[in-house]
């Protein structure tokens, strides 16, 4: 309830609220691009529809297949774009998609220090923290500190590799298969694979720890 013009209204002030300045700039840009005929409003809407139709479950299918099928994993590591197409997934417009395999010796994580480059076609829109300045700077200057805050403890001797991605190439982390999952089906394995584990800031939990 607020008061103006000498009377009360039973509602909060109607404003743009917490809308970031960037949203107003994007709207202005869209208006100009439409006016100049560079894009149509339908192009913009189709693109947004495509983007929000993607989800981490798409990337998880790739990971689970790589866990159960060594030949597929080999093809994935050689050319992740073709491997995604093989599973009927749309790897998006980037001509090169690279899968980074975590192992006993190497842990990979992905950041975009310049903006928010991310394998959207395979993981959906990036989480807000991925686009935040603290993640974008600290993921390169103090990645072990970042992993610690995400609850990832790397074994002694594990080499940490941070990939600072830019617009041409998309990077997807292939996490390690958790122990105790020998009897699981490919679908059950896929359900263990989280978005954050494919960014490299989490590790898939064994089934007992899920739920």
């Amino acid at each position: 309830m607020h008061d103006h013009d000498g009377h009360d209204h039973p509602h909060a002030p109607i404003t743009n609220g917490d809308e970031p300045d960037a949203a107003a700039r994007v709207r202005a840009l869209e208006e100009l691009l439409v006016e100049k005929g560079v894009v149509s409003r339908n192009d913009v809407r189709r693109r947004i529809d495509w983007l929000v139709s993607r989800a981490p479950a798409d990337g998880a299918r790739i990971v689970a297949r790589a866990w159960v099928d060594p030949a597929f994993k080999e093809r994935l590591l050689a050319d992740a774009r073709s491997a995604a197409l093989e599973l009927g997934l749309d790897p998006g417009p980037s001509p090169v998609v690279v899968a980074l395999e975590n192992s006993d010796e190497v842990h990979n994580m992905v950041v975009c220090t310049l903006c928010s480059c991310y394998p959207r076609a395979l993981l959906g829109p990036p989480p807000d923290w991925y686009k935040s300045l603290p993640y974008r700077s600290r993921a390169v200057t103090d990645p072990r500190g970042v992993l610690d805050e995400f609850g990832v403890e790397l074994d002694d001797g594990v080499e940490l590799r941070v990939f600072d991605s830019t617009a041409n190439i998309r990077y997807l982390v292939l996490p390690r298969r958790p122990a105790g999952t020998d009897g699981l089906s490919e679908d059950e394995l896929a359900s263990l694979v989280t978005r954050d584990s494919m960014i490299g800031v989490a590790v898939p939990a064994p089934p007992a720890a899920v739920s």
């Binding site: 001509p95 090169v96 690279v98 220090t113 310049l114 390169v140 200057t141 103090d142 990645p143 072990r144 500190g145 080499e159 940490l160 590799r161 941070v162 990939f163 600072d164 991605s165 830019t166 617009a167 041409n168 190439i169």
Partner: protein, 92 residues
């Protein structure tokens, strides 16, 4: 210039006005070519409405974190990788 995996390179520290994708923290740093991604249009001219031609080779380059950040708190083996266009790389 064609670079092969394993080759040592230095990222140019020349100043550059306008859009580019070479992270500032890697300027002047020495790293190792990990792989070639092929050729891509040049974002530094495309950003201003040009066609970005000729295409330029793009390389994945790995750097020792301790080479990039004096006082890096992690392990000596830790590395940071970035995709860098050929015209930002010098043989080292």
């Amino acid at each position: 210039m064609t670079l092969a995996p394993g080759q040592r390179v230095r990222v140019s520290s020349r100043s550059h006005d306008g859009h580019n994708r070479t992270p500032a923290y890697l300027r002047g740093r020495i790293g190792t070519v990990e792989r070639g991604h092929g050729s891509f249009t040049n974002p530094e001219t495309r950003a201003y409405g040009a066609d970005g031609l000729p295409e330029r080779q793009l390389y994945l380059v790995g750097f020792e974190q301790r080479e990039v950040w004096p006082g890096y708190p992690g392990r000596a083996a830790d590395r940071v990788y970035a995709d860098v266009f050929e015209h930002w790389l010098e043989e080292a």
